[in-house]
Amino acid sequence: MQCPLRSKDGQEILIAYVAGTLSPEVAFAVEQHMTLCSACCALAERQRELWAALDVWSSTPVPPDFNDRLYARIAAEKNPWWRQWTQARWPGAWRPALPVAFACAALLTAFLLKEPPAQNDATSPALEAPQIEQVERALDDVEMLKQLGLTPARANSSREEI
């Protein structure tokens, strides 16, 4: 018999030999070969030790709700916290309204920022405070316009106004 370790699926033959699944003729041939081949003999011995270890190993019992918990955890990772939050607080029928509400709020905010309410003349003069240089220029202009004399005089208000 050719050494199984030199063939493509030789290891499988040795594993099957240890497991006792080979036909008696093939098993005999392997036994005969192992008397001459220390490598195959060592591999078969390690395989026997592995089987022996597996025979004494006992697996931890799986809890009955394992699958349910696993699927719940997978679902939780797919669902981010903010979606869980909205799902918990917004009934299903109202949930689609939430983005619309946020959109309206954003537009309203933008509108208010773009068109600030008219300042009350009496309450917030400081916000409208002109630069003093502007006042100075305006007063100079007004003084020149006054000298022009197109404004009706006090005692002559019946005169045409300009």
């Binding site: 933008a110 502007q134 006042v135 305006a138 300009i162």
Partner: protein, 175 residues
């Protein structure tokens, strides 16, 4: 559906961001005269003078304190002169001021120069030009042009005076 609504939300955010002006732009306005958007009040614009007068005495004092004493005194006198006007006189003066400031910058300067030249004329010539402007006031722009191009106009006023009247006619009401 959910995807579309989320898209709407983000579209609104983007739209809002593009509509909203920068916060800094909503602070105090720039110093450029005539460029500052002013609040409309009863159809009339607030002039810087009116804005100043609406400030509290403390704020006025603080603003004036930035100026040298002579300029401060001049402003105080000019403000006092305005206070002594009747509401009608004051209103007319402010209307003229607003008309001046609504002109393009180049025209504004031309009118200011004309006003200065007007002040340098002899009193009787000032009165003649004043009367001419009063006569032009109720006319339409076309009638004013016709009048200022007429031989009578050219005979009554020298070239300098004609130019002064033409420039100052920008201050007249637009009929």
């Amino acid at each position: 559906m959910h995807f579309r609504l989320s898209g709407l939300f983000w579209a609104a955010i983007v739209l809002s961001a593009s509509l909203a002006p920068p916060m800094a732009a909503q602070g105090r306005h720039g110093a450029g005269m005539g460029r500052r958007p002013r609040a409309e009040r009863s159809g009339a614009r607030n002039t810087p003078i009116e804005d100043f007068e609406r400030m509290s005495p403390d704020e006025q004092k603080k603003a004036l304190a930035k100026l040298p004493p002579e300029r401060r005194q001049k402003i105080e006198e000019q403000l006092q002169t305005l206070k002594n006007l009747t509401p009608e006189q004051r209103s007319n003066l402010m209307q003229q001021y607003n008309r001046l400031n609504e002109l393009p910058p180049g025209r504004q300067e031309a009118v200011r120069n004309a006003l200065k030249k007007f002040g340098n004329q002899a009193p009787e010539r000032q009165q003649a030009m004043r009367d001419e402007l009063r006569a032009l006031a109720p006319m339409t722009p076309e009638e004013r042009q016709t009048r200022m191009g007429s031989p009578e106009f050219r005979n009554n006023y020298n070239h300098n005076e004609q130019q002064i009247i033409k420039d100052m006619s920008d201050l007249l009401p637009r009929n």
